[in-house]
Symmetry: C2
Subunit: 553 residues, 2 copies
């Protein structure tokens, strides 16, 4: 091919990855990278950690500078340069240089749109106050870092990734923090019980979480900003972080007449081509296929953005040899102090909303061999399709090894694995690293036992007084962490000798700390003829995520 | 069914798991568990960590006691009880009680053999000295712990898992340690370069590693034991740990006429049935199918043992509803101080020995985002089948996140994934947990680039003076960690301006720290018409596992 002219609009994750891959594939292409801001290829996922002081060098976040990118990739990098219109018929882009407002037309053979997404700023009264901040780039970060001095009062609106990370980092820096979320739980991507440990951890660090409430308006008063919530509550703030979500930055694509989704995302095929085959798009602004359902979804995450940029470059340079983008799964994790929580695939809420049939179990186990020092509990929930046994999603929370389990389960879901397959995954085991039966194996065992009719699970404690609730924990643990319903405490080792205490004509629910001993008890009772269900996930997974698994007695 | 009589011989991993699962499936079975030693269900993988003092409570290693196992599972647990013969026709086992030498015949409907494996003790002169110890059970552990006092001199013979773990723990406790290995590398399951970092770490902790040498004889002299090596070298020891491997403890199975493999392992089908359908076997003493090749292999590991015991119980109680044991992959990991190294699937050595065609790449990356504090390098090697792209094995080493990558890759191998699939695995990413492009994605990219002809790799630096070796690292790094061969240092950012310094008629090999920049350079040179190969894995993966990736300049 002759020298091809490539223009890239947006120089962060998707745009920079695209440009880098394209250069490797075509040493002689003319690649021009346009970026409205002053920075390219910066670490946007790292911004909260600079605000909080965990990352101390601002330069660490500038993964590449315009100069280094030029040197490494022989690009024509133009920062402070905004693309203002696309002449698709003429294959050219009109740019404006912010420094001098000069306009220029640049010709392309192929155009990559990587505009990203911008934080939502609803038109609420007072929202234009400079103390109401959002976090998208290094300049936003600098503003927040300057405002966030120890002792000040921060209100964080929205408890998704950014909201949780910013709350943690602002508190870490010594501010007081209120975290406000419209949903009745934090980290709404997860099912509510799987966020309980994270919420407990944030509260333990004196972050006040306000659920089921949103901000109605902001009111500047002397020396502070009052955040009026829908409930009428007023929070006095020195700074407000607005982290209620993002919208695609696609005005340019819309004006160019490219096909957009219902919420303004750019529609692309699986080689990242837009409705104009000479124009590609990638990253936070596009719709890609959900890996489970095939439906078009937007997933504004760094990993997919990077890989999408690469796919587009491959398609331009390798044509039919390029591998398509296989879609996105939605694997995500967030940390709050010592606790992590994350998801891969679909949540129960999302399956319910889509009307899909599913089953789920929740199990608890330690992240490595319990007898080796430092073992930390993990709570793992898996969801699967009953007919096929195929995994649909997984969520995990705990202090150690959460990312590992999510990564394995993301791989298993992508592979189309079933609950049977989970039973016999063979992991790297030595006492510092894992257990002979990993929590993922245990989840497979529990799911198969359920499927095979060996156990029936219940996920909420029944209120019906006809149901006999048998708490099979040790006496000390049952007394220290009592159930919120009336229950008979029969520690499991004495269960077989105490069957006479139970009424065989009434249903039984067995409960324990982790959901394992209650299963053992349910097996005993079922084989003795009782109508019995086990409380899946136990006290830890449902009622008190900080309850211990073992207390002697 | 009526009350079935089950006898289990051996009460540790496979036997205890079998008994527990069987009880859940059949509340009314008569289950008798026979154990020659005094302990059941102890944590054999934890023994080294008690010797070294990391595990301080001996009771933590007794995961279950005979009493607790009886209470939980309603078993008839008989410790100090040895099975001495099997009357297969009469379906009974002759046992001997060690306390009083009393013999008794016990009837069974189904028998489980879980005898495990015992450490090899070759008949070398002097080997019966009490200072030459092996580690199989709590009594062995107690003997070693008593002997291993700080300041004493230990010689560890054999640098597999146990040898590496015992060396680390003895050193941790303050002994001086020599580690002797017959192979030219430690941890012989791995390919040699992947063990270099671990060896470096052991040496940095003053463990002297002696490779390519073995012990010929032991000679007690006044106050110490001389270990005479094959090389003639003599090591004075206060204690010797013999960790050169294990052999199956299958004399009973042999005498009963059960089918055994060439090295004495019990042959079972995929429901763990021996050649006598009433007799099952599981754990370290059996042969199971290799998950990649289907061939019969022995894998004496805790995870497989536990899951095999479960499969056998399922087959006895559920019959046709039981899922077969799918075979073993050989996932393994070992830690030496701050460094971990591990493998899943087949090594290059094993593929070569089997005459199989394969390709491999080695990549280096940080375990989480490089800009987030604490990022640690990982070296990852993957092997695949060229025709299909299917993964055959993976090895990883580094300080953090090694277990995670092995677990993901074990799952990918089990799923039959290809190098293309690795490119688009979607992992849980936030700066404390990973990177937007994980090292596994990078390995997929590198493998596909190789497959697609974008890069040719070389794994050893050529000695041929005709080959131009171009070191594309920065000047400071190239000077601080010089290559062992003559090379031209052209830092990558200046490569395009220095092409005239290279002879286009001679082949070029590009070299960098991590194997990434050398690939970038190879792409530039290939497109400029050079005959070029990139040094896979770079200096870190091949020459100096402790070399840094970045030094400014």
């Amino acid at each position: 091919m002759g020298t091809q002219k490539i223009i890239v609009i947006g120089g962060v994750a998707a745009g920079a990855s695209f440009a880098a891959r394209l250069r490797r594939l075509d040493e002689h292409a003319q690649i021009t990278l346009l970026e409205r801001g002053p920075d390219v290829s910066f670490a946007n996922c790292g911004l909260p950690y600079y605000v909080g002081g965990e990352i101390t060098e601002r330069s660490a976040l500038a993964v590449q500078t315009p100069e280094s990118l030029t040197a490494l990739l022989a690009l024509d990098v133009r920062t402070g340069c905004e693309a203002v219109s696309i002449d698709r018929a003429g294959r050219r882009v009109e740019v404006r240089y912010l420094a001098d407002d000069r306009h220029e037309w640049l010709a392309y053979d192929r155009l990559m749109l990587a505009p990203g997404a911008k934080p939502l700023r609803p038109s609420l009264p007072g929202i234009d106050d400079t103390r109401v901040m959002t976090l998208r780039n290094l300049q936003d970060m600098d503003r927040i870092a300057t405002a966030a001095t120890p002792g000040r009062r921060a209100v964080v609106i929205g408890a998704g990734f950014i909201g949780v990370e910013m709350s943690e980092q602002l508190r870490h820096k010594g501010l007081s923090v209120h975290l406000v979320e419209l949903q009745p739980q934090i980290f709404p991507q997860l099912d509510a019980p799987m966020t309980a440990l994270l919420a407990s951890e944030l509260r333990a660090h004196d972050i006040e979480i306000i659920l089921g409430d949103g901000v109605a308006r902001f009111e500047p008063v002397v020396g502070e900003l009052n955040c009026h919530l829908n409930s009428g509550r007023v929070l006095a703030a020195d700074l407000v972080i607005l982290s209620i979500g993002v919208m695609p930055d696609t005005a340019l694509a819309r004006e160019a007449g490219l096909a957009l989704g219902p919420r303004g995302h750019i529609v692309v095929n699986n080689f990242m081509q837009t409705s104009d085959p000479a124009i590609y798009a990638a990253g936070d602004a596009v719709l890609t296929a959900d890996r489970l359902s095939g439906e078009a979804v937007n997933l504004p995450m760094g990993g997919p953005a990077n890989r999408q940029g690469r796919v587009a470059a491959d398609h331009i340079c390798l044509g039919g040899k390029a591998q398509p983008y296989p879609g996105s799964l939605g694997t995500a994790i967030v940390r709050g102090f010592s606790v992590a929580a994350g998801i891969t695939g679909w949540s129960e809420k999302r399956l319910q909303a889509a009307g899909r049939t599913y089953e789920s179990v929740t199990v608890n186990a330690e992240h490595h061999a319990g007898y080796y020092p430092g073992a930390q509990p993990i709570t793992l929930k898996i969801l699967w399709e009953p007919a096929s046994g195929r995994l649909l999603g997984a969520q995990a929370t705990g202090c150690e090894g959460i990312d590992k389990r999510l990564d394995v389960l993301a791989t298993a879901i992508i592979a189309g694995m079933t609950i049977d397959d989970l039973c016999h995954l063979e992991f790297a085991y030595a006492p510092p690293f894992g257990a002979a039966k990993d929590v993922i194996n245990l989840a497979g065992f529990a799911a198969c036992d359920r499927r095979d009719g060996l156990v029936r699970h219940i996920t909420e404690l029944p209120q019906d007084p006809q149901v006999q609730i048998v708490d099979v924990r040790g006496k000390a643990l049952a007394e220290a962490f009592p159930l919120p319903v009336a229950a008979l405490n029969i520690p499991f080792p004495s269960l077989r000798d105490n069957l006479a205490r139970l009424d065989r004509t009434r249903p039984v629910v067995t409960v324990c700390a982790m959901g394992k001993t209650s299963y053992f008890a349910a097996r005993v009772l079922a084989q003795e003829g009782f109508d019995v269900k086990s409380f899946s996930g136990g006290v830890r997974g449902n009622l008190d995520p900080r309850s211990p698994g073992k207390v002697s007695g």
